[in-house]
Amino acid sequence: MIIHHPLLGPRDAAEFVYLGDAALIDRPDWQAENAAEAFHAYGYLRDNPAGVHQELWYHEQGDRSWLVVTRNTVNHEISRVELARDVARARGRGR
């Protein structure tokens, strides 16, 4: 597969390490009342769709950036690649 890195252009997927569902960005608040349940869901409950999926890839043999890759798990079509840092900020993560 080829991942079109938003900063570096097309790179072979062999340069990347796959992590999984991009929902891992949404780490729960440790002080929330339901923190235990929220972390349980965060750690163990993932969607595994046959179709479009947002997932985290790490450009380990490259610029060390984490990417959010929107990929169709059925035909491997990649429709969008973003820097995970931008996605994290857009989802409200900061300090």
Binding site: M1, L24, F39, Y42, N75, R85, A88, R93, R95
Partner: protein
């Protein structure tokens, strides 16, 4: 009487004669020959025995689809089995041998299996070898293995080398026939980067095998002109002898280039190169494969595909027979007859299944209309054919044409399904092609020359690459046909799959036994499962199946094509990754010193680390390791610990960041101090540990375990970019940059005082336990000093820039001479950490928590950190959780066994009574007996208790006493001294 069948013409160099041998017999050929064309030229019709029935077989095709003519090439270690003679280029000195016979090729002792054929029909494996069950392993499987398989491996190491590579292009053209050449030329003239690949060693495809003309010249000459034009263009890469074998995601293609297979000696160069081709677009112009018609005894040497027969005549100047009849159901078969007659070969008859007028005039041939071949005669080669009306004709070669199948294989590699076209009676590429791929020419159902040329241009222009040049002139040759798949009147066995010996009867039987799906048919009969993957067999077999079920062929379906298109040697897939080059190796900075000083090395990940340093007179590794431990604890020892991961962490928020990635607090760590840190996974399981030193206000240096250096860095980047993107933190690995040495033992400070420049005060007050700082050594060399201890002794780690590491090891040893300093390896390191009760990889095994490790109180509840919330789950904090404790054998002479489980006195050895496990053991030279670390339920509350340590794997058990994990200096006085 060499080359008895050589006739005029052909693309061979008659000015040079080259010698080769077949089964030891000397033969001659010319440059430009394949082994198959040369064998035919020399009158060798019988070239092998069939897989199952050991039937005599000859050359059937003229290309990579060949099912029969599999031979062994070369000898000794270079011996290569199962090579298709039809694609093996002839070279001087080539040695070829036939396969799959006991005794000689002419008198194969295994031919008796042919008489047993009634018992070896479809599914015979499943039926015959079922009972009794015990016979399978002892009798059936060895017997089958002995008789199965075709060629022989040399059982020696492959003497050749292989390589891999990466190519990039705008357009990959697969196949250099008329359509491929036009596609490549169109795109090349448009100025884009083109790769033109063809499995043959001469580009031109069928143009080289036909007498058709393009632009008024012979097709082969026209092809050569186009190839020459392309070769002169900088944006074109011509890749003959290169098979594109697979279509992968996102325009990536796999291609095997055969670099030296056509040479007697590779000259040390890679024999084959496996290319990964990155393309924006690809034109599949793979042409078409002729299919046979099945009739009785249609497998005799001399029965060949009609297109192959005229290819041998036209391209190679070889007559596959003296009297050649043609059996066809379509117009194309007639061209074989016409071309042979033009070359002076006798053609007694053209047998056409259609009751239709002659397609062309074939001098001297009888046209037999509405007829079919029913059976053949000739023990080791065709002698006579008989027709359904009883006529018999003496021939030594029969050219059979059942029509042509577009080579759609690569269109299916991403689950694409071909579509049936009634007018062609063939499958053509479907609409769901791999993204970026278009198909042109015969592969796309454009079956005539003119159509193929047009199609090659048209599909390329559709991709946006245009050329204003004229289309070459050519004619649409007649291509009508009426499919007939097998001659139903035949009583004798009629072969569908020649390589796997599957007959029409086998398919019918499979149907009778209830196999309806094509995929089941394939697996039950083994149809299409040989090295040729049924290129000539699948469609006729499918047609027979359709006939049985009363369905159409498209309703019956087609099997899925998967890579590779033709076989790819394992050597090519391995590439350079053999032996020592299997993966890279990493050396520590003091590697050369260690080599020169008797080190035995151990692989730790990719690292080679000194395991121990043997001295003269030592009887085994234990002697060396015991000495290294004792000398270190008595005076001072030195160990290269460079392999531990080192991560430079800088930023205004670096401290806060560390506070969140370690479970224990880092917010209060002062500049010049080091702290032990434990990292958890988000699920609360301990992940990695190490020390982090605060070198400056915004500057920390983290160490990780050797094993987790890469993944810890990855996780830290995840935390930095995905969890807390607005913290000012920057990470960079410096693992390889610093040569780091542990200097441990009571004399560690005394030794370092001789090396560290005098300006730096190393007194216990100025540089206490868990202190760190930048210093200089050896007169100004920048260095880092950390007062940390893994051994439990007074110890430091000193780091210098890696290029000085080898010298530093020498200097430390030289300075330590007066203290009897000893270098120690990973074994002594391991012994000392067990003596000190430090957890390592065996304890941080992905199942244990901080609570289990006795570090539960380190997990702060007052801050957020990775793993904090889930590590406080009640189940993980159970009162009876396992705890890390020490063990010693009640009988001190006994050696403990790692992996033993703890069972109470008098309890049965079963999981219900399992109380924990022994994770690490060592012989402690300091104590004089075996010691162990392990996890025991409520272990910390059970000191002094006697248990059984049971190892069912070893069939042993022993009594052990629970003791504190710190065997040495439990109060830590030494390391603080």
């Amino acid at each position: 009487m060499s080359q008895v069948n050589r006739i005029k013409g052909g693309l061979i160099d008659r000015s040079t004669e080259i010698s080769f041998s077949f089964n030891g017999k000397a033969m001659q050929g010319h440059p430009g020959d394949t082994l198959a064309s040369a064998l035919l030229a020399n009158g060798q019709r019988l070239v092998g025995r069939s897989f199952k029935y050991h039937r005599p077989r000859g050359i059937f095709t003229a290309g990579s689809e060949e099912p029969n003519a599999l031979v062994e090439l070369r000898k000794g270690a270079a011996q290569e089995p199962n090579t298709r003679a039809t694609v093996a280029e002839l070279f001087d000195g080539l040695e070829a041998r036939s396969q799959n016979h006991r005794g000689s090729l002419e008198f194969d002792l295994m031919a008796v299996t042919d008489l047993l054929s009634p018992f070896l029909s479809a599914g015979f494996y499943y039926k015959t070898f079922m009972w009794p069950r015990a016979f399978w392993e002892k009798l059936y499987e060895p017997a089958i293995r002995a008789s199965a398989g075709l060629g022989q491996l040399s059982m020696e190491e492959d003497p050749d080398c292989y390589d891999k590579g990466y190519l990039h292009c705008d357009l990959l053209v697969i196949g250099a026939g008329p359509a491929g050449l036009m596609a490549a030329r169109t795109a090349a003239r448009a100025g884009v980067r083109v790769i033109l690949a063809d499995e043959d060693f001469v580009m031109g495809g069928r143009l080289n095998a036909e007498t058709l003309e393009v632009d008024g010249m012979p097709g082969a000459d026209w092809a050569a002109t186009v190839v020459a034009e392309l070769a002169a263009m900088e944006n074109v890469r011509l890749m003959p002898r290169s098979t594109v074998y697979g279509a992968y995601d996102h325009g990536i293609y796999g291609m095997l280039e055969r670099c030296t297979d056509h040479l007697a000696f590779s000259g040390g160069k890679p024999r084959q190169v496996l290319w990964r081709v990155y393309s924006r677009h690809a034109v599949l112009a793979a042409g078409a494969t002729e299919r046979p018609i099945a009739f009785g005894n249609n497998d005799r040497p001399g029965v060949m595909l009609a297109g192959a027969v005229r290819a041998y005549a036209n391209r190679w100047g070889v007559a596959p027979g003296r009297r050649v009849a043609v059996f066809t159901n379509n117009d194309d078969g007639w061209r074989s007859a016409a071309d042979l007659v033009a070359k002076g070969v006798e053609v007694p008859a053209v047998i056409d299944t259609r009751d239709a007028p002659a397609v062309c005039d074939v001098h001297g041939a009888r046209h037999i209309r509405g007829a079919a071949v029913m059976d053949t005669k000739g023990r080791k080669g065709l002698r006579q054919i008989s027709l359904i009306d009883g006529q018999m004709i003496d021939v030594d070669c029969l050219a059979v044409s059942g029509g042509w199948n577009p080579n759609v294989h690569l269109t299916c590699h991403q689950r694409g399904r071909p579509e049936w076209r009634d007018d062609l009676a063939a499958f053509v590429p479907g609409r769901d092609l791999p993204p970026g791929m278009v198909v042109a020419g015969a592969a796309n159902g454009a079956m005539t020359l003119a159509a193929a040329l047009r199609d090659g241009v048209a599909v390329t222009e559709r991709l946006g690459y245009t050329d204003t040049g004229d289309l070459p002139r050519a004619e649409d040759e007649p291509r009508d046909g009426a499919p007939i798949w097998h001659v139903s009147q035949s009583r004798a066995r009629a072969w569908l799959d020649l390589q796997n010996d599957v007959t029409v009867k086998d398919v019918k039987q499979a149907h009778q036994e209830g196999f309806r799906s094509v995929e089941h048919l394939k697996r039950y009969t083994t149809l299409g499962m040989a090295t040729d993957q049924g290129k000539t067999a699948n469609i006729p077999a499918l047609a027979v199946m359709a006939e049985c079920t009363g369905k159409t062929i498209p309703e019956t379906g087609t099997t899925i094509f998967r890579p590779p298109y033709t076989p790819v040697p394992i050597g090519a897939l391995a590439g350079r990754a053999r032996g020592r080059d299997f993966r890279p190796y990493r050396l520590t900075p003091s590697h050369r010193w260690a080599e020169a000083n008797g080190a035995t090395f151990v692989e730790v990940g990719n690292w080679l680390r000194a395991q121990w340093f043997a001295r003269e007179g030592e009887q085994g590794w234990r002697d060396s390791v015991d000495r290294e431990v004792l000398m270190t604890r008595r005076s001072v020892g030195i160990c290269d610990v460079t392999t531990l991961g080192k991560i430079d962490i800088q930023g205004r928020d670096a401290g806060e960041f560390l506070n969140r990635v370690y479970c224990n607090g880092f917010a209060t760590l002062a500049v010049g101090r080091v702290r032990y840190g434990l990292m958890l996974r988000e699920d609360g399981i301990a992940y990695d540990d190490g020390t982090t030193a605060r070198m400056g206000e915004h500057h920390y240096v983290m160490t990780t375990t050797t094993a987790n250096a890469v993944t810890v860095f990855r996780r830290l980047e995840f935390a930095r970019q995905c969890l807390w993107p607005d913290l000012d933190v920057h990470l960079i690995s410096t693992t390889d940059g610093w040569a780091q040495f542990a200097v441990a033992g009571p004399n560690a400070r005394n030794l370092l005082r001789k090396v560290v420049d005098k300006a730096h005060d190393l007194s216990n007050e100025a540089f206490p336990f868990m202190g760190c700082g930048e210093v200089t050594v050896c007169g100004g060399m920048p260095a880092r000093l950390f007062r940390i201890s893994f051994s439990g002794e007074l110890a430091y780690e000193v780091a210098v820039p890696a290029r000085f590491g080898n010298a530093m090891m020498g200097v430390l040893m030289e300075a330590g001479r007066e203290f009897d300093a000893v270098p120690y390896g990973t074994e002594a390191l391991g012994v000392m950490r067990i003596e000190k009760g430090h957890a390592a990889g065996n304890e941080l095994n992905g199942q244990t928590t901080a609570h289990n490790l006795g570090m539960g109180r380190m997990v702060s509840r007052k801050k957020d950190c990775i793993g904090n919330v889930l590590s406080h789950r009640p189940e993980l904090l159970r009162e009876d959780a396992v705890k890390l404790v020490g063990f010693r054998p009640v009988n001190r002479d006994t050696g403990l066994i790692a992996g033993s489980h703890f069972i109470g006195q008098g309890d049965a050895v079963m999981m219900d009574n399992d109380q924990g496990w022994m994770s690490s053991v060592a012989y402690s030279p300091s104590l004089g007996h075996s010691i162990g670390l392990g996890f025991l339920k409520r272990g910390d509350a059970r000191l002094g208790e006697i248990l059984r340590a049971v190892s069912p794997v070893h069939g042993r058990e022993m009594e052990v006493e629970v003791v504190p994990a710190h065997f040495i200096d439990p109060e830590g006085e030494r390391l603080r001294g």
